[in-house]
Protein backbone atom coordinates (compact mmCIF):
# COMPACT_ATOMS: atom_id res chain seq x y z
CA UNK A 1 0.00 0.00 0.00
CA UNK A 2 1.46 3.39 -0.97
CA UNK A 3 2.09 5.70 1.98
CA UNK A 4 2.35 9.49 2.02
CA UNK A 5 3.59 11.63 4.86
CA UNK A 6 0.86 14.10 4.02
CA UNK A 7 -2.16 12.97 2.07
CA UNK A 8 -4.53 15.68 0.89
CA UNK A 9 -8.05 14.65 -0.07
CA UNK A 10 -9.55 17.02 -2.65
CA UNK A 11 -7.56 18.85 -5.29
CA UNK A 12 -9.50 22.11 -5.29
CA UNK A 13 -8.49 25.51 -3.98
CA UNK A 14 -7.69 24.51 -0.40
CA UNK A 15 -6.05 21.17 -1.18
CA UNK A 16 -3.86 22.63 -3.91
CA UNK A 17 -2.81 25.53 -1.75
CA UNK A 18 -1.96 23.24 1.17
CA UNK A 19 0.39 21.28 -1.07
CA UNK A 20 1.96 24.47 -2.42
CA UNK A 21 2.47 25.76 1.12
CA UNK A 22 4.01 22.50 2.34
CA UNK A 23 6.75 22.75 -0.28
CA UNK A 24 7.12 26.50 0.10
CA UNK A 25 7.68 26.01 3.83
CA UNK A 26 10.37 23.45 3.07
CA UNK A 27 8.55 20.21 3.81
CA UNK A 28 10.59 17.35 2.32
CA UNK A 29 8.32 14.39 3.10
CA UNK A 30 6.08 12.72 0.54
CA UNK A 31 2.91 14.58 -0.44
CA UNK A 32 -0.05 13.46 -2.53
CA UNK A 33 -3.37 14.95 -3.52
CA UNK A 34 -6.20 12.47 -4.13
CA UNK A 35 -8.90 14.27 -6.10
CA UNK A 36 -12.17 13.17 -7.57
CA UNK A 37 -12.12 15.54 -10.51
CA UNK A 38 -9.93 14.48 -13.37
CA UNK A 39 -8.44 17.99 -13.64
CA UNK A 40 -5.34 19.79 -12.51
CA UNK A 41 -6.26 22.05 -9.57
CA UNK A 42 -8.08 25.13 -10.84
CA UNK A 43 -9.85 28.26 -9.65
CA UNK A 44 -13.62 28.10 -9.38
CA UNK A 45 -14.57 31.80 -9.27
CA UNK A 46 -14.27 32.26 -13.07
CA UNK A 47 -16.75 29.39 -13.64
CA UNK A 48 -19.62 31.80 -13.04
CA UNK A 49 -17.78 34.79 -14.48
CA UNK A 50 -15.07 35.07 -17.19
CA UNK A 51 -14.99 31.37 -18.09
CA UNK A 52 -18.75 31.17 -18.55
CA UNK A 53 -18.62 34.34 -20.60
CA UNK A 54 -15.90 32.90 -22.80
CA UNK A 55 -13.47 35.63 -21.77
CA UNK A 56 -10.92 33.36 -20.15
CA UNK A 57 -9.72 30.07 -21.59
CA UNK A 58 -9.30 26.98 -19.47
CA UNK A 59 -5.49 27.02 -19.06
CA UNK A 60 -5.70 30.39 -17.38
CA UNK A 61 -7.80 28.91 -14.57
CA UNK A 62 -5.11 26.47 -13.48
CA UNK A 63 -3.76 27.22 -10.02
CA UNK A 64 -0.34 25.99 -11.20
CA UNK A 65 0.81 24.43 -14.49
CA UNK A 66 1.19 20.65 -14.82
CA UNK A 67 4.98 20.88 -14.59
CA UNK A 68 4.80 22.57 -11.20
CA UNK A 69 3.34 19.54 -9.42
CA UNK A 70 5.98 17.32 -10.91
CA UNK A 71 8.85 19.64 -10.03
CA UNK A 72 7.61 19.96 -6.47
CA UNK A 73 7.15 16.18 -6.13
CA UNK A 74 3.47 16.50 -5.32
CA UNK A 75 1.76 13.34 -6.53
CA UNK A 76 -1.59 14.04 -8.17
CA UNK A 77 -3.86 11.03 -7.89
CA UNK A 78 -6.70 12.34 -10.01
CA UNK A 79 -10.06 10.83 -10.81
CA UNK A 80 -10.05 9.03 -7.47
CA UNK A 81 -12.53 9.50 -4.66
CA UNK A 82 -11.81 8.67 -1.06
CA UNK A 83 -14.77 6.66 0.18
CA UNK A 84 -13.65 5.66 3.68
CA UNK A 85 -11.12 6.68 6.31
CA UNK A 86 -9.60 4.43 8.96
CA UNK A 87 -8.13 6.87 11.49
CA UNK A 88 -6.53 4.27 13.74
CA UNK A 89 -4.77 2.50 10.88
CA UNK A 90 -4.11 5.90 9.30
CA UNK A 91 -5.30 4.88 5.90
CA UNK A 92 -8.00 5.72 3.38
CA UNK A 93 -9.91 3.60 0.90
CA UNK A 94 -10.56 4.82 -2.63
CA UNK A 95 -13.46 4.17 -4.99
CA UNK A 96 -11.26 1.87 -7.09
CA UNK A 97 -10.79 -0.40 -4.06
CA UNK A 98 -7.19 0.61 -3.42
CA UNK A 99 -5.89 2.01 -0.14
CA UNK A 100 -3.38 4.69 0.81
CA UNK A 101 -1.56 5.16 4.08
CA UNK A 102 -0.89 8.58 5.60
CA UNK A 103 1.04 10.32 8.31
CA UNK A 104 -1.21 13.39 8.33
CA UNK A 105 -4.46 13.67 6.42
CA UNK A 106 -5.77 17.00 5.13
CA UNK A 107 -9.45 16.85 4.23
CA UNK A 108 -10.22 19.52 1.61
CA UNK A 109 -13.24 18.22 -0.23
CA UNK A 110 -15.41 21.33 -0.57
CA UNK A 111 -19.06 20.56 -1.13
CA UNK A 112 -21.71 19.30 -3.49
CA UNK A 113 -24.17 21.75 -4.97
CA UNK A 114 -27.51 21.56 -3.25
CA UNK A 115 -30.24 20.32 -5.61
CA UNK A 116 -33.80 21.58 -5.81
CA UNK A 117 -36.27 19.52 -3.84
CA UNK A 118 -39.03 19.41 -6.44
CA UNK A 119 -39.97 17.14 -9.35
CA UNK A 120 -38.10 17.42 -12.63
CA UNK A 121 -34.66 18.39 -11.44
CA UNK A 122 -32.97 15.55 -13.32
CA UNK A 123 -34.26 16.71 -16.71
CA UNK A 124 -31.67 17.59 -19.33
CA UNK A 125 -30.89 21.25 -19.27
CA UNK A 126 -30.97 21.57 -15.48
CA UNK A 127 -27.51 22.64 -14.32
CA UNK A 128 -25.43 23.54 -11.30
CA UNK A 129 -22.08 25.37 -11.27
CA UNK A 130 -19.37 23.93 -9.08
CA UNK A 131 -16.91 22.22 -11.44
CA UNK A 132 -15.40 22.65 -14.85
CA UNK A 133 -17.64 19.82 -16.07
CA UNK A 134 -20.69 21.72 -14.87
CA UNK A 135 -19.63 24.92 -16.59
CA UNK A 136 -18.76 23.06 -19.79
CA UNK A 137 -22.18 21.41 -19.77
CA UNK A 138 -23.78 24.85 -19.65
CA UNK A 139 -21.46 26.19 -22.36
CA UNK A 140 -22.22 23.18 -24.54
CA UNK A 141 -25.93 23.87 -24.43
CA UNK A 142 -25.93 27.66 -24.59
CA UNK A 143 -26.26 28.05 -28.34
CA UNK A 144 -29.66 26.33 -28.18
CA UNK A 145 -30.90 28.50 -25.35
CA UNK A 146 -32.85 31.71 -25.69
CA UNK A 147 -34.45 31.71 -22.24
CA UNK A 148 -32.89 30.61 -18.99
CA UNK A 149 -34.14 30.45 -15.44
CA UNK A 150 -31.65 30.89 -12.63
CA UNK A 151 -32.67 29.60 -9.24
CA UNK A 152 -31.00 31.33 -6.32
CA UNK A 153 -30.09 34.95 -5.77
CA UNK A 154 -26.76 34.37 -4.09
CA UNK A 155 -23.46 35.48 -5.62
CA UNK A 156 -23.23 32.57 -8.04
CA UNK A 157 -26.79 32.95 -9.30
CA UNK A 158 -26.40 36.68 -9.76
CA UNK A 159 -23.07 36.28 -11.54
CA UNK A 160 -24.53 33.66 -13.85
CA UNK A 161 -27.48 35.97 -14.57
CA UNK A 162 -25.09 38.78 -15.49
CA UNK A 163 -23.13 36.52 -17.84
CA UNK A 164 -26.23 35.16 -19.57
CA UNK A 165 -27.58 38.67 -20.07
CA UNK A 166 -24.27 39.71 -21.62
CA UNK A 167 -24.64 36.74 -23.95
CA UNK A 168 -28.05 38.01 -24.99
CA UNK A 169 -30.19 35.40 -23.26
CA UNK A 170 -33.52 36.18 -21.66
CA UNK A 171 -33.06 35.55 -17.97
CA UNK A 172 -35.47 35.03 -15.11
CA UNK A 173 -33.92 34.83 -11.67
CA UNK A 174 -35.94 33.24 -8.87
CA UNK A 175 -35.07 33.84 -5.24
CA UNK A 176 -37.06 32.08 -2.51
CA UNK A 177 -36.39 34.71 0.15
CA UNK A 178 -37.79 38.26 0.08
CA UNK A 179 -34.48 39.64 -1.22
CA UNK A 180 -31.34 38.51 -3.02
CA UNK A 181 -28.06 38.07 -1.11
CA UNK A 182 -30.19 37.84 2.03
CA UNK A 183 -27.75 35.59 3.89
CA UNK A 184 -24.65 37.61 3.19
CA UNK A 185 -25.52 41.28 2.79
CA UNK A 186 -27.73 44.03 4.18
CA UNK A 187 -30.87 45.38 2.57
CA UNK A 188 -29.21 48.32 0.81
CA UNK A 189 -26.90 45.98 -1.05
CA UNK A 190 -29.71 43.57 -1.89
CA UNK A 191 -32.00 46.24 -3.28
CA UNK A 192 -29.14 47.80 -5.22
CA UNK A 193 -28.32 44.50 -6.94
CA UNK A 194 -31.99 43.76 -7.58
CA UNK A 195 -32.36 47.13 -9.31
CA UNK A 196 -29.16 46.66 -11.32
CA UNK A 197 -30.19 43.25 -12.60
CA UNK A 198 -33.65 44.51 -13.50
CA UNK A 199 -32.12 47.46 -15.33
CA UNK A 200 -30.01 44.96 -17.26
CA UNK A 201 -33.17 43.17 -18.31
CA UNK A 202 -33.29 40.31 -15.81
CA UNK A 203 -36.80 39.32 -14.76
CA UNK A 204 -35.87 39.08 -11.10
CA UNK A 205 -38.48 37.68 -8.73
CA UNK A 206 -38.09 37.41 -4.98
CA UNK A 207 -40.23 35.33 -2.59
CA UNK A 208 -40.61 32.93 -5.50
CA UNK A 209 -41.71 29.36 -4.77
CA UNK A 210 -41.03 26.66 -7.36
CA UNK A 211 -43.34 23.69 -7.53
CA UNK A 212 -41.73 21.78 -10.41
CA UNK A 213 -39.28 21.81 -13.25
CA UNK A 214 -41.23 20.68 -16.29
CA UNK A 215 -40.34 18.99 -19.55
CA UNK A 216 -40.40 15.61 -21.24
CA UNK A 217 -36.77 14.71 -21.61
CA UNK A 218 -35.40 18.26 -21.56
CA UNK A 219 -36.53 21.12 -19.42
CA UNK A 220 -39.21 23.26 -21.04
CA UNK A 221 -40.18 25.43 -18.11
CA UNK A 222 -40.33 26.11 -14.42
CA UNK A 223 -43.71 25.95 -12.70
CA UNK A 224 -44.21 28.29 -9.77
CA UNK A 225 -46.37 27.62 -6.74
CA UNK A 226 -48.91 30.17 -7.98
CA UNK A 227 -49.45 27.96 -11.04
CA UNK A 228 -47.68 30.17 -13.56
CA UNK A 229 -45.12 28.70 -15.94
CA UNK A 230 -41.85 30.30 -16.98
CA UNK A 231 -40.78 28.79 -20.27
CA UNK A 232 -37.08 28.13 -20.66
CA UNK A 233 -34.57 25.76 -22.22
CA UNK A 234 -32.10 25.93 -19.36
CA UNK A 235 -32.21 26.07 -15.58
CA UNK A 236 -29.17 26.92 -13.48
CA UNK A 237 -29.50 26.14 -9.79
CA UNK A 238 -27.27 28.06 -7.39
CA UNK A 239 -28.67 27.46 -3.93
CA UNK A 240 -25.58 26.62 -1.93
CA UNK A 241 -23.56 23.54 -1.14
CA UNK A 242 -23.61 20.58 1.18
CA UNK A 243 -20.12 19.89 2.55
CA UNK A 244 -18.60 16.60 1.39
CA UNK A 245 -17.78 15.05 4.72
CA UNK A 246 -19.53 11.67 4.94
CA UNK A 247 -16.39 9.49 4.98
CA UNK A 248 -14.98 11.46 7.93
CA UNK A 249 -18.27 11.49 9.83
CA UNK A 250 -18.60 7.76 9.23
CA UNK A 251 -15.13 7.34 10.73
CA UNK A 252 -16.30 9.05 13.91
CA UNK A 253 -14.68 12.44 13.30
CA UNK A 254 -16.67 15.23 14.93
CA UNK A 255 -18.86 17.39 12.76
CA UNK A 256 -22.28 18.00 11.36
CA UNK A 257 -22.64 20.75 8.80
CA UNK A 258 -18.94 20.54 8.05
CA UNK A 259 -16.09 18.97 9.97
CA UNK A 260 -15.38 20.71 13.25
CA UNK A 261 -11.84 21.99 13.53
CA UNK A 262 -9.93 23.85 16.23
CA UNK A 263 -7.97 27.08 15.78
CA UNK A 264 -5.26 25.11 13.98
CA UNK A 265 -7.66 23.41 11.54
CA UNK A 266 -7.26 20.11 13.38
CA UNK A 267 -10.25 17.78 13.65
CA UNK A 268 -11.16 15.61 16.63
CA UNK A 269 -8.43 13.23 15.37
CA UNK A 270 -4.98 14.71 15.87
CA UNK A 271 -3.69 13.39 12.55
CA UNK A 272 -6.56 14.71 10.48
CA UNK A 273 -7.01 18.34 9.43
CA UNK A 274 -9.96 19.84 7.56
CA UNK A 275 -9.78 23.04 5.53
CA UNK A 276 -11.78 25.11 3.07
CA UNK A 277 -15.51 24.99 2.37
CA UNK A 278 -15.98 21.73 4.31
CA UNK A 279 -14.44 22.92 7.60
CA UNK A 280 -16.45 24.47 10.43
CA UNK A 281 -14.36 26.66 12.69
CA UNK A 282 -14.92 29.28 15.37
CA UNK A 283 -14.39 32.59 13.62
CA UNK A 284 -13.23 35.57 15.63
CA UNK A 285 -14.75 37.90 13.05
CA UNK A 286 -18.16 36.38 13.76
CA UNK A 287 -17.90 36.76 17.52
CA UNK A 288 -16.49 33.26 17.84
CA UNK A 289 -19.44 31.57 16.11
CA UNK A 290 -18.59 28.23 14.50
CA UNK A 291 -19.13 28.48 10.77
CA UNK A 292 -18.04 27.36 7.36
CA UNK A 293 -16.66 30.14 5.20
CA UNK A 294 -16.91 29.53 1.47
CA UNK A 295 -14.25 31.64 -0.17
CA UNK A 296 -10.84 31.47 -1.80
CA UNK A 297 -9.44 33.55 1.05
CA UNK A 298 -10.60 31.05 3.65
CA UNK A 299 -9.44 28.06 1.60
CA UNK A 300 -5.94 29.48 1.22
CA UNK A 301 -5.57 30.85 4.73
CA UNK A 302 -6.83 27.66 6.37
CA UNK A 303 -4.49 25.68 4.14
CA UNK A 304 -1.57 27.80 5.34
CA UNK A 305 -2.76 27.41 8.95
CA UNK A 306 -2.97 23.60 8.73
CA UNK A 307 0.45 23.41 7.10
CA UNK A 308 2.04 25.47 9.86
CA UNK A 309 0.52 23.16 12.46
CA UNK A 310 1.77 20.07 10.62
CA UNK A 311 5.25 21.57 10.44
CA UNK A 312 5.22 22.19 14.19
CA UNK A 313 4.82 25.96 13.93
CA UNK A 314 1.16 26.13 14.89
CA UNK A 315 -0.47 29.57 14.83
CA UNK A 316 -4.13 30.18 15.61
CA UNK A 317 -6.26 31.00 12.60
CA UNK A 318 -6.85 34.74 12.64
CA UNK A 319 -7.29 35.72 9.00
CA UNK A 320 -9.96 38.27 8.22
CA UNK A 321 -12.59 37.00 5.76
CA UNK A 322 -12.80 38.74 2.40
CA UNK A 323 -14.59 38.04 -0.83
CA UNK A 324 -15.32 39.57 -4.19
CA UNK A 325 -18.04 39.28 -6.80
CA UNK A 326 -17.96 40.83 -10.26
CA UNK A 327 -21.25 41.42 -12.04
CA UNK A 328 -21.62 43.63 -15.12
CA UNK A 329 -19.31 46.58 -14.39
CA UNK A 330 -19.86 46.27 -10.64
CA UNK A 331 -17.02 45.21 -8.44
CA UNK A 332 -18.26 44.11 -5.04
CA UNK A 333 -15.67 43.60 -2.34
CA UNK A 334 -16.64 42.32 1.08
CA UNK A 335 -14.57 42.17 4.22
CA UNK A 336 -15.54 40.87 7.65
CA UNK A 337 -18.72 38.96 8.48
CA UNK A 338 -21.88 41.03 8.71
CA UNK A 339 -24.18 38.51 10.38
CA UNK A 340 -25.53 39.83 13.65
CA UNK A 341 -25.05 43.51 12.73
CA UNK A 342 -27.32 45.99 14.49
CA UNK A 343 -26.73 48.99 12.25
CA UNK A 344 -25.91 49.34 8.56
CA UNK A 345 -24.56 52.65 7.38
CA UNK A 346 -24.62 53.72 3.76
CA UNK A 347 -21.52 55.62 2.74
CA UNK A 348 -21.60 57.17 -0.71
CA UNK A 349 -24.24 57.29 -3.39
CA UNK A 350 -26.01 54.19 -4.71
CA UNK A 351 -27.13 56.14 -7.78
CA UNK A 352 -23.50 56.89 -8.62
CA UNK A 353 -22.86 53.12 -8.37
CA UNK A 354 -19.98 53.75 -6.05
CA UNK A 355 -20.71 53.27 -2.37
CA UNK A 356 -20.16 51.07 0.61
CA UNK A 357 -22.30 49.70 3.39
CA UNK A 358 -20.65 49.54 6.79
CA UNK A 359 -22.05 47.05 9.30
CA UNK A 360 -21.77 47.81 12.98
CA UNK A 361 -22.40 45.72 16.04
CA UNK A 362 -22.54 47.44 19.40
CA UNK A 363 -20.86 50.42 17.76
CA UNK A 364 -17.93 48.48 16.35
CA UNK A 365 -17.28 48.02 12.66
CA UNK A 366 -17.62 44.30 11.81
CA UNK A 367 -18.00 44.18 8.03
CA UNK A 368 -18.15 46.21 4.84
CA UNK A 369 -19.63 45.67 1.41
CA UNK A 370 -17.92 48.02 -1.02
CA UNK A 371 -19.32 48.46 -4.51
CA UNK A 372 -16.87 50.06 -6.93
CA UNK A 373 -15.29 51.53 -3.80
CA UNK A 374 -12.01 49.69 -3.36
CA UNK A 375 -10.50 52.30 -1.09
CA UNK A 376 -13.28 51.89 1.44
CA UNK A 377 -12.81 48.14 1.26
CA UNK A 378 -9.08 48.35 1.90
CA UNK A 379 -9.28 50.87 4.69
CA UNK A 380 -12.23 49.21 6.38
CA UNK A 381 -10.29 45.97 6.50
CA UNK A 382 -7.80 47.51 8.90
CA UNK A 383 -10.54 49.13 10.96
CA UNK A 384 -12.37 45.82 11.31
CA UNK A 385 -9.18 44.09 12.39
CA UNK A 386 -8.84 46.72 15.12
CA UNK A 387 -12.53 46.47 16.15
CA UNK A 388 -12.66 50.22 15.60
CA UNK A 389 -15.54 52.33 16.89
CA UNK A 390 -16.31 55.32 14.70
CA UNK A 391 -19.27 57.65 14.97
CA UNK A 392 -21.93 56.94 12.33
CA UNK A 393 -22.03 60.62 11.36
CA UNK A 394 -18.34 60.39 10.50
CA UNK A 395 -18.73 57.14 8.59
CA UNK A 396 -21.13 58.74 6.10
CA UNK A 397 -18.71 61.58 5.36
CA UNK A 398 -17.22 60.62 2.00
CA UNK A 399 -15.08 63.77 1.92
CA UNK A 400 -12.70 62.04 4.34
CA UNK A 401 -11.13 58.63 3.80
CA UNK A 402 -12.17 55.99 6.35
CA UNK A 403 -8.66 55.71 7.72
CA UNK A 404 -8.64 59.40 8.70
CA UNK A 405 -11.85 59.26 10.71
CA UNK A 406 -11.51 59.72 14.45
CA UNK A 407 -11.97 56.64 16.63
CA UNK A 408 -14.28 56.83 19.61
Amino acid sequence: MPHFDVLIVGGGQAGAYAAIQLRQQGFVGTVAIAGRENELPYERPPLSKEYLLGDKEWERLLIRPASFWQEKAIALLLGLEVTAVQPTARQVTMNDGSSLGYGKLIWATGGEPRRLACPGTDLKGVHVVRTRAHADAILGQLSDVSRAVIVGGGYIGLEAAAVLRKLGKEVTLLEALPRVLARVAGEDVSSFYEAEHRAQGVDLRTSAAISAVEGLDRVSGVRLADGSLIECQMVIVGIGIIPSVEPLLAAGIKGENGIEVDDFCRTSDENIYAIGDCAAQANRFAGGAVLRVESVQNANDQAACAVKAILGEAQSYAAIPWFWSNQYDLKLQTVGISSGYDAAILRGDCAARCFSVLYLKAGRLIAVDAINATRDYVQARKLIEEWAMIAPEDLVDTSRPLKDLPRL
Binding site: Q24, E43, P45, P46, R60, L61, I63, R64, P65, S67, F68, E71, K72, V296, Q297, N300, D301, A304, C305, A319, W322, W324, N326, K331, Q333, T374, R375, Y377, V378, Q379, R381
Partner: protein, 107 residues
Protein backbone atom coordinates in the same frame (compact mmCIF):
# COMPACT_ATOMS: atom_id res chain seq x y z
CA UNK B 1 9.97 35.95 -26.91
CA UNK B 2 9.89 38.27 -23.95
CA UNK B 3 12.11 37.44 -21.01
CA UNK B 4 11.06 38.34 -17.50
CA UNK B 5 13.34 38.11 -14.48
CA UNK B 6 11.78 37.51 -11.09
CA UNK B 7 13.58 37.56 -7.77
CA UNK B 8 11.68 35.29 -5.41
CA UNK B 9 11.28 36.42 -1.78
CA UNK B 10 14.34 34.37 -0.71
CA UNK B 11 16.44 36.01 -3.43
CA UNK B 12 16.37 33.18 -5.99
CA UNK B 13 16.65 34.54 -9.53
CA UNK B 14 14.15 33.12 -12.02
CA UNK B 15 14.45 34.01 -15.67
CA UNK B 16 11.33 32.96 -17.56
CA UNK B 17 9.66 33.45 -20.92
CA UNK B 18 6.36 35.28 -21.27
CA UNK B 19 3.69 34.90 -23.91
CA UNK B 20 2.28 38.05 -25.41
CA UNK B 21 -0.97 39.15 -23.78
CA UNK B 22 -0.31 37.38 -20.48
CA UNK B 23 -0.18 39.46 -17.35
CA UNK B 24 3.03 39.46 -15.34
CA UNK B 25 1.09 37.60 -12.63
CA UNK B 26 0.16 34.86 -15.08
CA UNK B 27 3.77 34.56 -16.22
CA UNK B 28 4.87 34.05 -12.63
CA UNK B 29 2.14 31.53 -11.81
CA UNK B 30 2.68 29.59 -15.04
CA UNK B 31 6.33 29.15 -14.14
CA UNK B 32 5.68 28.34 -10.50
CA UNK B 33 7.57 31.42 -9.33
CA UNK B 34 7.41 31.70 -5.53
CA UNK B 35 5.96 34.85 -4.03
CA UNK B 36 2.92 35.31 -6.26
CA UNK B 37 -0.23 33.65 -4.88
CA UNK B 38 -2.85 35.37 -7.05
CA UNK B 39 -5.76 34.47 -4.77
CA UNK B 40 -8.25 36.39 -6.90
CA UNK B 41 -7.00 35.05 -10.22
CA UNK B 42 -6.11 38.47 -11.56
CA UNK B 43 -9.13 40.68 -10.96
CA UNK B 44 -7.31 43.16 -8.72
CA UNK B 45 -9.09 41.99 -5.59
CA UNK B 46 -6.38 40.41 -3.43
CA UNK B 47 -2.98 42.13 -3.69
CA UNK B 48 -1.19 38.77 -3.45
CA UNK B 49 0.59 39.50 -6.75
CA UNK B 50 2.58 42.47 -5.46
CA UNK B 51 5.95 43.14 -7.05
CA UNK B 52 8.64 45.81 -7.06
CA UNK B 53 9.38 46.78 -10.63
CA UNK B 54 12.82 47.48 -12.04
CA UNK B 55 13.00 51.31 -11.94
CA UNK B 56 14.34 51.34 -15.49
CA UNK B 57 11.02 49.89 -16.65
CA UNK B 58 8.65 51.33 -14.08
CA UNK B 59 8.09 54.61 -15.90
CA UNK B 60 7.36 52.81 -19.17
CA UNK B 61 4.38 50.92 -17.80
CA UNK B 62 0.86 52.16 -18.30
CA UNK B 63 -0.05 54.12 -15.21
CA UNK B 64 -2.02 52.26 -12.57
CA UNK B 65 -5.69 52.94 -12.05
CA UNK B 66 -7.35 53.96 -8.80
CA UNK B 67 -8.40 50.46 -7.86
CA UNK B 68 -4.87 49.13 -8.07
CA UNK B 69 -3.51 52.09 -6.14
CA UNK B 70 -6.13 51.47 -3.44
CA UNK B 71 -5.40 47.73 -3.31
CA UNK B 72 -1.71 48.46 -2.80
CA UNK B 73 -2.65 50.09 0.51
CA UNK B 74 -3.24 46.52 1.73
CA UNK B 75 0.46 45.82 1.48
CA UNK B 76 1.49 49.24 2.73
CA UNK B 77 4.33 47.89 4.84
CA UNK B 78 5.92 46.28 1.77
CA UNK B 79 4.98 49.04 -0.61
CA UNK B 80 7.63 51.08 -2.40
CA UNK B 81 7.55 53.80 -5.05
CA UNK B 82 7.93 51.10 -7.69
CA UNK B 83 5.20 48.80 -6.37
CA UNK B 84 2.63 47.32 -8.75
CA UNK B 85 0.09 44.52 -8.76
CA UNK B 86 1.41 42.16 -11.41
CA UNK B 87 -2.02 41.02 -12.61
CA UNK B 88 -2.62 44.54 -13.86
CA UNK B 89 0.37 44.63 -16.21
CA UNK B 90 0.08 43.07 -19.65
CA UNK B 91 3.24 41.70 -21.19
CA UNK B 92 4.45 43.09 -24.50
CA UNK B 93 7.84 43.11 -26.23
CA UNK B 94 8.68 46.43 -24.56
CA UNK B 95 8.99 44.58 -21.25
CA UNK B 96 11.76 42.28 -22.50
CA UNK B 97 14.35 41.99 -19.73
CA UNK B 98 12.24 43.58 -17.00
CA UNK B 99 13.31 42.67 -13.46
CA UNK B 100 10.73 42.24 -10.69
CA UNK B 101 11.42 41.69 -7.01
CA UNK B 102 8.75 39.81 -5.10
CA UNK B 103 8.42 40.82 -1.46
CA UNK B 104 6.38 37.68 -0.63
CA UNK B 105 2.84 37.06 0.56
CA UNK B 106 2.18 37.08 4.30
CA UNK B 107 -0.37 34.74 5.80
Amino acid sequence: MTTIVFFEPDGTRREVEANPGESLMEVAVRHGVEGVDADCGGVCACATCHGHIDPAFFGRLLAMNDTEDAMLELVEDQRAANSRLLCQIQVGPELDGIVIKLPGVRR
